[in-house]
Symmetry: C2
């Protein structure tokens, strides 16, 4: 079975395989338009990189082509919500056929084909197979926050390439927040001139990204968060705020007071022009106005705003924000767009056309659906929280609260978006925070809810992860250079042994390990470490086998080898720890890893000898392990828990399952 | 001592160190012009990437700057041969000062500063130091052949970044050969239209590269090899050839017959216009006309050419080529350039202004110098021959034949150029063939001939190699993806263990391992393997210590661990070998590596037990090892020789040094 991700709706393996040789060529028929030709050229380039074989670019003669792509009709130049993305892909030992109703479907099918190409005894090959595929949800997105840390154009582009590889179709571009206004406005140039530290996208950059995304079947939705999260706007235009300026770009993280003044007509005149300009720049039908986390402090402190509330019979700041949203909605509509916002915008006064993005959870989404609103889920898909892929994978937009919805209500749940909030990521580290976990979420949004088991998911995700190297993603390639930087000269083997078994602290805990601003270097071990340690996961799996008595010889040898490596690692790493200002903080973790190696080996000896460990030894070791589980340097030692299992198991047979 | 390469002329370490903090800034004074400002901005970007610290871009106030750069006078916008590149760099714990006579000197000094920044217990720091530096040779180049395999613009640019990092100052762009004509001619557009497979640089690309190089103090010298190596010209312009066409782009490697017709005036009218066009495009004063490897077959077979020779009293084809060179020289001169060519062009009729590039050796270079010609050395610096860095490092342009030259004659030896001929490299693999060995050659050309020992060279070269990741070079980052491709899914640990100890066959042997054309995939283990195995070199060093009885405990443990890894590696790798069409060919190497592990461990046991091995065992193992030294799959198992040493040493004490 090929390592497909997202898993297609129906996959039926046949007999034999199709050999992808250097004479591989693609023929196109039907009415897919010039985008199909360009997609095939990209496909051939990717196939060439992936196999290392020069393969002639350009379309082949359909009568002699190895892969025939037939497209019934051209998709719109700019992708739209709900377009048909289905395709069928039939591969026999002599021919491959990709049929799609639309250009978009062909794009998706070409990616499926690429995922199936792998090295075999006979050469690069695709198994004979019959695939029918279409997405479960029409809205499958990734939010990239470019305000808290600006992400240069090439970061956006390479991530669009990654998105295309796993059939995502929405880039949600979080363009403005307290820490930076990141797009050029020609109507209000002080927005970027004063609000961006000169780190912003020109309108030409934006058009470039939209075109790049459209070629890959990806919509681009801009978010201009308002009325809160707007400090960066106020640096150039303090008159928009609910309190007098001057304002400065925010350098720290959190929820801040500055909020637009929803009571002044000037605010709406400004927004009318601004939304008009941006609506012209961004062709997608949807326009995100944020709307989250308004703390109301500026409103409460402003007598004029208080008067306004009273005179309009508003009881709360929520009412005032609802009024603001109504006014903004009218402007968004006026400029031909459909409004999207976070949970907070939901208010009975708003028409049913709007779309709610839920950071609060499925219940919130289900409630919206019951009230007639469409929605997308982001709760559970926050990549910045450093959760394992399996956690994200377990979150279903239709889960929890959605269970009781009617069919009609369920249809209002459009899909979901992973969120890459950028407080703790830089252009250097962002790829490793998005990938490969994004691929698991992409599968959740594309594939049937009856998805394969977690082991299958991880196996396929890791295969996809390797392939993304060929698309220019840096989540794997930046690991060694970042370790080099930490270690100085002298090799990184010992540091890698430690780095391989730690993970950044989860949820919002990182804030407790330092005082952060947008200028804080993200060059520590926590930044190099992967969100999810593959080594630790494999070690835990092997330990579970050992403990249950199911482990084969090979597994026991591997467990012992890993423990032995760790036992000696601190001594090897110590000279570098002592010589690097950046590594000092991980010395306790390194010590604990050596301890875990020692303790694990002792426990293994007891286990293999079938001896019962002395109770006092056991208690002592468990106490040490408990200490080793504590976060240090914003890192967690992920092999403490499995070593604990070994020690616990060494108590005797009674503890074995 | 910081890991500097090339080693500066004078380095005097002081007391203490200068801490590079986030508030690091650079002030500029003097008359270096706008290029200094741009160089400082690039420097700050590199410093930021290297340290992972956001550092504000732009020039600082000189009175508060951490590093003061003073430049006496602006270099020319386009660098020229022989410009002053000297600088002094003084670092104290409180301040760093870089003084240079010219902009170029400042560029070189900034690179020296970057090489000294490393992580210390106190943070990123530069040791207090006093450096006076200037190059030994004024011509320090890299030839990149873009004809046999085209190298896209980004490959050229990232290699220019690498060149700047090690103070090279000439990109020799081998733009045309039998296998492709790679630059746009507007006067003769069929050159690129019919001779390049649509893989060529537009004139705008060329100007971009020249500008990019000039910013980094690097000259760009084009080479249009003639009258041989010209098949690609003849596809569009067969009338230039000495035999009737039609011609096709050559797809294979070797010396081919097609040669320009030196007897027809039309040839010179064409070349006049062509050289005129290219002389305008390439601003450097030097213009390379190749001139090598004319086999004369077309000339011998052409009665009209034979008549011409007779009527002009020419005795040989060499005379005819000398005539051609004279004619071309006149054209090169007419268009304001100085002619450069390979050894073959040397002929007493040519004026002394020309420069000879020697692929034949120092003797040839010395002879030219004696005759009054200037020259550069490339013999010994062919990167495609896969020799160890130490071999290149040992080659001195003033070595061998140059020893007896007078001072005046010695001054005619301008330096050298490494050559990256591209028969067996692709854009994917070319970086790993150039780097890091190029850095060792760069040191040979910049630094004093009394250079440090080989261990020092390797230590510093490896440090430079790591740093080049931050410049975008891919010689390190492409290793794992290439192994992934070979292995398919399932991890690359076992394959890496093998790949780490093999090297591609040397010199021109690769041609014996396959039938190659320009379309042959370069995706085998020989392409992923590094030209020089660091693991094998270190293993050999440790074995030497063991054999001499000088090894410490740690070294003995490491040697045993490596042998143990290899002994078990074939069993681990076998499933992938059997499942990959690309890996089948390395099965014998993998088996032999396991054998070497087994034999090495046995020899080590004998050695450590102080026992004499049985003679028949020893003879048997040595025979096996001898077999293991044979190249297979175009690869050499580099640990066979050190294991042989172990077995030989196990004979008894008499063999120990």
């Amino acid at each position: 079975m090929p390592n497909l991700m997202p898993m297609p709706a129906r996959v039926k393996l046949g007999q034999g395989q199709f050999i992808v040789s250097q004479s591989f060529s693609v023929g196109v028929s039907g009415s897919g338009g010039p985008r199909v030709k360009r997609a095939v050229e990209r496909f051939l380039g990717n196939l060439s990189r992936q196999t290392g074989m020069p393969i002639p670019a350009g379309l082949g003669n359909p009568s002699q082509a190895a892969l025939l792509v037939h497209v019934e009709q051209a998709s719109k130049e700019i992708p739209q919500l709900g377009e048909d993305e289905s395709y069928t892909l039939t591969v026999t030992p002599s021919l491959a056929k990709l049929n799609a109703r639309t250009t978009l479907g062909a794009l998706r099918g070409l990616e499926t084909f690429l995922q199936m190409v792998s090295i075999r005894p006979e050469g690069f090959a695709v198994p004979a197979v019959n695939i029918e595929d279409s997405p479960r949800f029409p809205w499958r997105g990734l939010l990239i926050d470019v305000s808290r840390h600006f992400m240069p154009l090439e970061v956006i582009k390479r991530n669009l390439d990654g998105m295309a590889a796993v059939k995502l179709n929405v880039l949600h571009w979080h363009l403005a927040d307290n820490q930076g206004f990141r797009v050029e406005s020609r109507v209000f140039p002080k927005l970027q001139e004063m609000g961006s530290d000169e780190r912003y996208y020109t309108q030409s950059n934006v058009r470039d990204v939209i075109q790049y995304a459209a070629e890959r079947g990806i919509r681009v939705i801009p978010e201009f968060d308002m009325p809160g999260h707007t400090t960066a706007w106020f640096v150039g235009y303090p008159e928009l705020a609910s309190a007098p300026g001057p304002y400065q770009i925010e350098r720290q993280w959190g929820i801040f007071d500055p909020t637009m003044d929803p009571t002044r007509e000037e605010t709406y005149r400004f927004l009318d022009q601004f939304i008009g300009e941006m609506a012209g720049l961004f062709p997608d039908a949807y326009f995100h106005i944020g709307g989250d986390e308004v703390n109301g402090k500026q409103w409460d402190a402003n007598p004029q705003i208080q008067r306004f509330k009273r005179s309009h019979g508003m009881k709360s700041n929520d009412d005032l924000q609802a009024y603001f949203n109504q006014r903004v909605l009218a402007l968004v509509r006026k400029h031909g767009k459909i409004m999207v916002g976070w949970d907070e915008i939901l208010h009975p006064d708003l028409p049913k056309e709007i779309v709610v993005q839920s950071w609060r959870g499925q219940q919130s989404l289900a409630n919206a659906a019951r009230q007639g609103y469409r929605g997308i889920l982001s709760h559970g898909y926050y990549l910045d929280l450093m959760q394992p892929a399996s956690d994200h994978y377990a979150v279903d937009p239709m889960g929890n609260g959605a269970a009781d919805l009617s069919l009609q209500e369920r249809a209002r749940i459009l899909g979901g978006e992973a969120c890459m909030w950028s407080e703790y990521v830089s252009p250097e580290t962002v790829d490793s925070r998005i990938w490969p976990r994004m691929a698991a979420i992409a599968e959740r949004l594309w594939s049937s809810p009856e998805t394969p088991d977690t082991d299958s998911m991880y196996r396929r995700m890791n295969a996809v992860s390797e392939r993304l190297d060929w698309r220019g993603l840096e989540h794997r390639s930046n690991y060694t250079p970042m370790l080099d930087r930490l270690a100085g000269s002298g090799g990184v083997e010992a540091l890698r042994a430690l780095a391989d078994v730690v993970e950044p602290v989860k949820e919002y805990e990182r804030a407790e390990f330092g005082s952060y601003t947008s200028a804080t270097p993200l060059n520590r071990l926590v930044d190099a470490a992967r969100p999810e340690s593959q080594t630790a996961r494999e070690f835990a799996r092997m330990v579970a086998a050992v403990v249950s008595g199911q482990a084969d010889e090979n597994t026991r040898i591997k467990v012992r080898a890993m423990l032995t490596l760790w036992r000696g690692n601190h001594a090897r790493l110590l000279p570098q720890l002592e010589n690097s200002a950046l590594l000092k903080e991980v010395e306790p973790l390194s010590q604990d890893l050596a301890m875990l190696g020692t303790v694990g080996l002792q426990a293994l000896d007891y286990l293999e000898a079938g001896k019962r460990v002395p109770d006092d030894w056991r208690a002592q070791q468990l106490a040490l392990i408990e200490q080793a589980k504590k976060p240090r340097a914003a890192l967690l030692l992920m092999v403490a828990a499995p070593v604990q299992k070994l020690v616990e198991a060494s108590e005797g047979d009674s503890r074995r399952p």
